[in-house]
Amino acid sequence: MFDFLEGYDLLGAFWVTVQLTFWSALGSLVWGTLLAAMRVGPVPLMRGFGTAYVTVVRNIPLTVIIVFTSLGLFQTLGISLGADRFTTINFRLAVLGLTAYTSAFVCEALRSGINTVPLGQVEAARAIGLSFPQILRIIVLPQAFRSVVGPLTNVLIALTKNTTVAAAIGVAEAALLMREMIENEAQLILISAIFAFGYICLTLPTGLLLGRLAKKVAVKR
């Protein structure tokens, strides 16, 4: 029944999905935190930049961004991100696109977390003379991060599902393999079920595990 699977690297494709998710998650956590810091900071120009970035990026389809990294950045402008093999270039471009897109959502999640930190915390920090970067680093962000584990989990799950878009620029992840298998094999329902199951295996445990973590670390108020 499953002999049509021969010759296809199913696990390898899902491994690429996991790698895409991991690197993009890492990148967007860093860039998203920086954006959030800019958006709540005292410098008007940085606030404006953060707001503009989030507004624009959230309203562009991820597919447009990913296809742009390949057609625009690589094929037109010749930016290859320091890689020389096509597969590596496309992978890095996809991570870049996913990071640029996802960090806007990380930023918004963090900002809502910053708003849950009680005013008294910040007022006390200001009263003992901490500067803005110190307040953010020592007082606000640690509490904000603990309260946004839940929302960030949602972003992570959305990111896992969004990695399928990398198929549009030929990254050999699960969705691309699924399209190839559907074209070559006559087992449409079975193939689709296998891939659906694969994604459920990736998304549901993430939600359950991090959901539990979210309850554990949340600041009780």
């Binding site: 005292p42 930049f49 402008l77 949602n154 559907i182």
Partner: protein, 316 residues
Amino acid sequence: MRRTGSGRAAKRRTDRDEAPTVLYDVPGPRARRRNLLWTLLFLAALAAVVWWVIAGLGAKNQLEAEKWEPFLTDGRVWQTYLLPALKNTVIAAALAMLLALPLGALLGIARLSDHRAVRAGAGTVVEFFRAIPVLILMLFANAAYAEFTDISPETRPLYAVVTGLVLYNASVLAEVVRAGILALPAGQTDAAKAIGMRKGQTMAYVLLPQSVTAMLPALISQLVVIVKDTALGGAMLGFAELLASVRPMSANYGANTIACFTVVAVLFVLLNLALTTFAARLERRLRRGKRSTGAVVTAEAVDDLATPGEPPAPKP
């Protein structure tokens, strides 16, 4: 007296859309100088990036006027490529929303059923379709239509895109509907029971009509997600929407890839901004409104509702 006044001011400052200015003091002379320094540094960094981009674009001849001009002076670009593509995007998004809404309402109500089997069935469907990527659903729908139906290959991408979007968004909207109904004050159900309404009547005449108002902002914000996801069909299924118009357009107007992408991105942003602005305005009106219960499922709540896993706890 003063305390309540300042308390209220502080409360207003932490509202969602405004920067929480309480994170830093009102700048004095030194802070102003420091902010100015940071502004200048950031401006320099921005300028460096912009210069690098422009130099890069110039080196690849992407800034020539003839590559950008057609979008302003030549009506044919719009008539041949952009407007038909935009029309397809809007048609697919509108169809998906119209079909997903009743399906989602049905699933959402089923999840609130008193019968465990109905609840579990609807729950499984909702969790399943929220857990898998839309693209997988689209690819499946595309292949399934090719194999089991005789829909012509020209219209098949539209069918596939709409099917994928409906399956996914119906399950998200099911959660929106459920949240909308749960957000209503319990007194509504009690009152309906008190005047002798049956369960179905309570749902049809009391809960559902009110929850529709409450969830309008969330619905519109989901429409933004739908609009964005139509681009998947353009990249993977050959559906002739905005993103898919980039290739033929740049081939016809002298390889102006960057210009084409810019225009397409701007169109998407404008379309979605119009939707989000409308949703935000509606949300504010609903919160202020005296005729409604004041219950509202916000645009932001959709992010949580679109995630598989345990349902968000109903608000007390």
